[in-house]
């Protein structure tokens, strides 16, 4: 694993990233590579800035006034800075999708939920949409359960199915990076297991960055883990290393449950 070349190829990289909610300095000098087709987990106590960091990647902070980025998140291979004021947030979100903490399907049919990202790109050919919807639902391990009820409301699905639908929605537009913000915190253990298996399956095709509150989850699904505290990255390493032999005392205290 260590010498696998893919692990050495970053898909994106935060360089000296700072973020401000008005006067609050929420992220401080963050440096972190996001490896291509790997799962990178962000862990840390509540309020440490891990979700804030995640939401920088698809510029969600731009939706609200008073937020400011400084520094860089470079997207490879072209190496452009996606948090610079010149980068268009709409364009960024078209290639970096996100799955939220609570399943947030639209009150539309299952089909329309998945097709939405394509429709807003102007794709309306039924054949193209049909194919993409099926491919995305298969990718999100929901096809078998949903194929006979594509026109039914997404609200009729269970919580776990809804979250997989949201993953399908994010996959439909072929994202280069998929962001997960505590995707299982609102789900029961069985649904959680399914999502975790799905994440491991998905990394064959797409680069994944996941925020999680659950350290076992980080250990189960991720290849590398970053521990954040008070807006800074305390330690970043391969997941095995972080959970067995962390180099920082703070990391060790956190993963052994002494605080957080």
């Amino acid at each position: 694993m260590v010498n696998e070349p893919a692990l050495q190829t970053p898909k994106a990289e935060a360089k000296n990233l700072n973020f401000f909610y008005s006067a609050v300095h929420a992220l401080k000098n963050i440096d972190l590579p996001i490896m291509r087709r790997k799962v990178t987990a962000l862990i840390g106590p509540s309020g440490c800035g891990k979700t804030t960091f995640l939401r920088c990647f698809n510029r969600m902070h731009d939706l609200y006034p008073g937020n400011r980025y400084a520094g860089e998140i470079l997207l490879y291979p072209e190496g452009r800075n996606i948090v610079s004021p010149e980068a268009d947030p709409i364009e960024i979100r078209m290639s970096i999708s996100m799955v939220f903490q609570k399943p947030n399907p639209f009150p539309k049919s299952i089909y329309e939920n998945v097709a939405y990202g394509l429709r807003i790109r102007g794709i309306s050919k039924k054949a193209v949409l049909d194919e993409k919807v099926e491919k995305s639902l298969r990718g999100a391990a929901l096809w078998e359960e949903a194929k006979d009820r594509l026109q039914k409301s997404a609200f009729d699905l269970s919580g776990g199915q809804q979250q997989r639908l949201c993953i399908a929605r994010a996959l439909a537009t072929d994202p280069r990076i998929l962001l997960f913000d505590e995707p299982t915190s609102a789900l029961d253990p069985t649904a959680t297991t399914k999502i975790e298996e799905l994440i491991i399956e998905l990394k064959k095709e797409v680069t994944i960055l996941i925020v999680t509150h659950n350290m076992q989850q980080a250990a189960r699904v991720s290849d590398s883990t970053a521990f954040m505290y008070l807006g800074e990255i305390v330690e970043y390493d391969k997941t095995d290393k972080i959970f067995t032999a962390p180099s920082q005392r703070l990391t060790e205290e956190y993963i052994t449950g002494r605080f957080g």
């Binding site: 939706l63 006034p65 979100r93 939220f100 947030n104 399907p105 639209f106 939405y116 807003i120």
Partner: protein, 303 residues
């Protein structure tokens, strides 16, 4: 000690029971008043509640008089009111909720809209007289009347729109933005469709208020006696649609009613009561429709 607590519990239960009774009485006061009013109007006007009452023009003979011109007038006014207030109100509501930056300017706009909803309707009449009749020279016409009532219900439509939009969870918006939607796409695909129920409810309640308005229409010079109908909006010849009705003089149901009430002959009081029943029924019908629409949409979309 034990006896003290039991006594205390008895007292608290009595208080609880007392409020239940008080609440029930308060609820019934409103209900009974409305019921009595309707029944009283109906009893007074029932002998005139015939089909010919709906299809006759006003007349100096009370038995022959009807509400045709008032009914048509009320309907056409509502058409103009709806056509003006709905797009303006919805657009303003969407702008204020989704687009407007939060600063002192939008704060002032918001406070003003809230205040506009409380302005007495006759003041709108004066404004309309100055603006539509004198400044824009639209005459004492259906167009002027409709626009006047549109001003009156505009704040209601704006506020209903905003409330309906505010009920949509942030998570839905973020879900839309997260796959690369623009603000307008989010409004078009999500905000508008999901708030339609609330907006429609607000619009219908606004229109049902407009249909009963008298003062502002008298101010702009609505007539009280009209024995003809405006030109039909649909004609047999090209271009088939005529807008001449917009500039026709008009009367509306409450004004017709007012006209009859103010006559000395007691027979006309019967006409007034009958017209009142029709007006009340129309209002109840519209409010009922609003409740039905709200129910239907709530069934479909639950957050």
């Amino acid at each position: 000690m034990n006896g003290g607590i039991k006594k205390r519990i008895r007292f608290m239960k009595a208080m609880n029971y007392g409020f239940a009774v008080l609440g029930l009485v308060s609820t019934f006061v409103g209900l009974i008043l409305l019921g009595t009013l309707l029944l009283d109007l109906f009893m007074d006007g029932r002998e005139r509640l015939t089909y010919s009452f709906l299809t006759s023009f006003p007349s100096r003979f009370a038995e022959e008089a009807g509400i045709l011109s008032a009914l048509v007038g009320s309907f056409l006014i509502l058409v103009v009111t709806a056509a003006a207030a709905i797009p303006l109100g919805i657009a303003a509501g969407i702008y204020l909720e989704e687009y407007a930056p939060k600063n002192w300017f939008t704060d002032i706009v918001e406070i003003n809209i809230a205040n506009l909803a409380g302005v007495p309707s006759i003041v709108y009449g004066l404004l309309a007289l100055g603006l539509f009749v004198y400044a824009l020279k639209l005459g004492q016409s259906i167009l002027t009347g409709g626009l006047t009532l549109a001003l009156l219900i505009l704040p209601m439509v704006i506020m209903a729109t905003r409330e309906a939009i505010r009920a949509i969870p942030t998570a839905i918006r973020e879900g839309s933005y997260a796959v690369g939607a623009t603000k307008w796409q989010t409004v078009q695909y999500h905000i508008l469709p999901y708030s339609t129920g609330g907006i429609l409810t607000g619009i219908i309640i606004g229109l049902s208020r407009a249909i009963g308005e008298t003062a502002p229409l008298i101010t702009i010079g609505s007539l009280t006696f009209i024995a003809f109908l405006p030109e039909s909006p649909i004609s047999g010849e090209f271009p088939f649609i005529s807008l001449k009705w917009l500039s026709a003089p008009f009367t509306v149901l409450p004004i017709q009613m007012f006209n009859w009430v103010s006559r000395p002959q007691p027979e006309f009081q019967i006409n007034a009561a009958a017209a009142g029943v029709i007006l009340m029924l129309m209002t109840l019908l519209m409010n009922g429709l609003a409740i039905y629409i709200r129910y239907q949409f709530r069934k479909k979309i639950k957050w």
